[in-house]
Amino acid sequence: MISVNNLQKTYGVISALKGLHFEISKGEFVLIFGPNGAGKSTLLKILSTILAPTEGEVYIDDINIYKNSHEIRSRIGFVSHEPFLYENLSALENLVFFAGLYNVDNPLNKAKEILETLQLDARENELVRNYSRGMKQRVALARALIHEPDILYLDEPFSGLDLLGTSIITNILKNLKAQGKTILMSTHSFDDCADLAHRILLLINGEIAFMTSDVNKDHFKQKYLELVSINN
């Protein structure tokens, strides 16, 4: 279980996150929705320990994630819109390298296994540089899953993907959800993946506008538009 307590992030004088409180239970799929600049990326970076918050704490199963970052990092997978891969290495080499960093037993086998489940094994020896955007994003998912994390964060994973790419990733996410992984995904377009979510968290200007388990698209859109028009 992830619990976020009074999380704040300020850049100089500008606040990106203004005291967030929320909890996510194990196995939940939560969608973070919000306009650009709402603080979605900042939030996910803080949750994955690569960015320190200005104030507040985050606990995963009662473990403070900044005081035990090594332990927490091996439980977290992170996919961004950038793939975080070495373009001059092949997909396999990338995965073996990252597996080594996570101290995975037998990195080569593990990497091959994951590439196979993501149907990338046919081109595993090609350089990442020569992959399409959609392929890169799948390798990025493989990188994030190489150490079998139980929590997965996705930061706008669909940006720049075509319909095919989107549907492949959506299917993978469906499987991961079925496996009981806790998933937190940010997006600015509601149509992707909305039906997968258990809950939606709406973030506007660094604050939680609301959190709902009503994932009906029309209800959400109506509520969202009402809120945004009041704010403007």
């Binding site: 977290i76 891969l85 001059n88």
Partner: protein, 223 residues
């Protein structure tokens, strides 16, 4: 230790595959040496004063290309963030990058030397071990500061252009002492007659390696 080795190995696979860096660094070294040789038109009495400086300036210039290049591999597709997400100490990432830079620079320097010997007409054989030691110590200095500063410069608006501006003034102690020792070795003196310069060189290496280990996290971490 395992992490350091795997970072170095990754950098090597990556570099040898494209080879752009080696080719451009080596060509650049050649050009500098040629140009100096051509322009200076050295007569024998000032040759011993000028040519060690030419050698080290060549190392410095071609090295700074290599340093930028090595970090730009990390910035492409933000691969460095993948490293940051892993349960790995930031000081180990620094050591990994430091060693791969050190080895790259040494390779380039070693293949540059024969050309220098030919063009400037030197006989290195008598003092080869001593000269290699000085090159090794000087290059540790280059790599310790360069690893830190290439990460800074590539994270700014000016990117590669900023590196020499940050790097050259800081590296002056290495340059001054390395040139002085090389010069005296080439004119037949022994290494022990340069002990104080050697000490400064070693002190520089130790100080800036420690500084790099301590400060690298502030450069590569998200802010």
């Amino acid at each position: 230790m395992k992490t350091i080795i795997s970072i170095v190995r990754k950098d090597f696979i990556s570099e040898f595959r494209s080879r752009d860096m080696f080719i451009s660094m080596f060509t650049f070294s050649l050009i500098i040496i040629f140009v100096f040789n051509l322009v200076l038109d050295l007569t024998s009495n000032i040759k011993n004063i000028v040519s060690p400086a030419v050698l080290w300036i060549t190392f410095l210039f071609s090295g700074s290309i290599g340093l930028s290049r090595s970090y730009s591999l990390e910035k492409e597709s933000e691969a460095i963030k993948g490293l940051l997400l892993a349960p790995v100490d930031r000081s180990l990432i620094y050591m990994g990058k430091f060693f791969s830079n050190l080895i790259f620079l040494l390779i380039i320097e070693i293949i540059t030397i024969p050309i220098f010997i030919i063009l400037f007409n030197y006989d290195f054989s008598i003092k080869i071990i001593e000269i290699m030691l000085v090159i090794f110590l000087g290059t540790i200095g280059f790599s310790s500061v360069g690893t830190l500063f290439s990460a800074i410069s590539l994270n700014t608006r000016l990117r590669e252009v900023l590196l020499p501006i940050l790097y050259f003034p800081i590296i002056i102690p290495v340059l001054l002492n390395a040139v002085r020792i090389t010069r005296s070795l080439l004119s037949g003196e022994s290494l022990s007659s340069n002990s104080s310069s050697l000490q400064v060189l070693i002190a520089f290496d130790i100080i800036f390696l420690s500084a790099g280990i301590l400060l690298y996290e502030y450069v590569i971490e998200e802010s």
